[in-house]
Symmetry: C2
Subunit: 150 residues, 2 copies
């Protein structure tokens, strides 16, 4: 597959594909002339990358998850740590989702004034700031670049 084909299949723009390759997240499996050729597996890879990003990982983190560079030990530890983080995130996100859903259905004029909304979200937020023991600021996230990227 050439770069345009991958872009078409995944919706990831060519510029991003080149950027990812430079960063070492994907690899072209040779050149046809000077054009990159990609193995079909790159499509799955890109899905995983998108998934990792959605989970709040940086591109560098995603790369270390996907490539067995140095110590496997450290890698595995890191892996389950990440899994724990993601589980925690999932818990909170479900609460947020419930909160939003309730807010959407709730008759109160402003959800800021709806007590059950408040409660749901407060529950979701509980434990984010541990007032002593934990580091706080656990889960990161990101902003949309620009276009919805057809």
């Amino acid at each position: 597959m050439d770069i345009a084909e991958v872009a078409k299949r995944t919706g990831v723009p060519a510029s991003t594909l080149r950027y990812y390759e430079k960063k070492g997240l994907i690899h072209s499996i040779g050149r046809d002339g000077l054009r990159r050729r990609f193995a079909p597996g790159v499509v799955d890879q890109l899905a995983l990358i998108a998934l990792g990003q959605a989970a709040g990982l940086s591109l560098d983190e995603v790369r270390t998850m996907l490539s067995p560079n140095g110590e496997p030990n450290i890698d595995r530890q890191l892996l389950s740590a990440k899994a724990d983080e993601i589980d925690a995130l999932v818990k909170r996100l479900r609460a947020v989702s419930n909160g939003l859903r309730h807010a959407a259905a709730c008759p109160a004029p402003s959800h800021a004034e709806c007590p059950s909304f408040q409660k749901l979200l407060k529950a979701a937020a509980l434990g984010m700031f541990d007032t002593q023991t934990t580091p706080a600021r656990k889960a990161p996230s990101r902003s949309r670049p620009t276009s919805p990227s057809r």
Copy 2:
């Protein structure tokens, strides 16, 4: 509470609190001299903001969720749409978590070579790129700023 107190309680640096205030995400409830004074509720607000970010919302999106500015109708629609998005994200994230957990326990030298890891993640990635109908690139995310901010 003054700004330092809020920072201490939440782990969110003072500079960020000022930035958020400028952006309209939080509000100081008056000044003591020229110093801001915050209501205790701001702590919960900040937790919600962090949560929203973890869910992949931009600060602007978080603000619109939290403030009843214009049309409530649009707001509610948007709310349940966001809830749907989050639910979808949660589904994928759980698959990722399972994948990572398996990879951490798996005896294969590199998880890239482990077939069950591949399968799990491929399942997680399924539907991310819809090959025709949907826009792809559904959920965003973010990277860590710098300090762990204790």
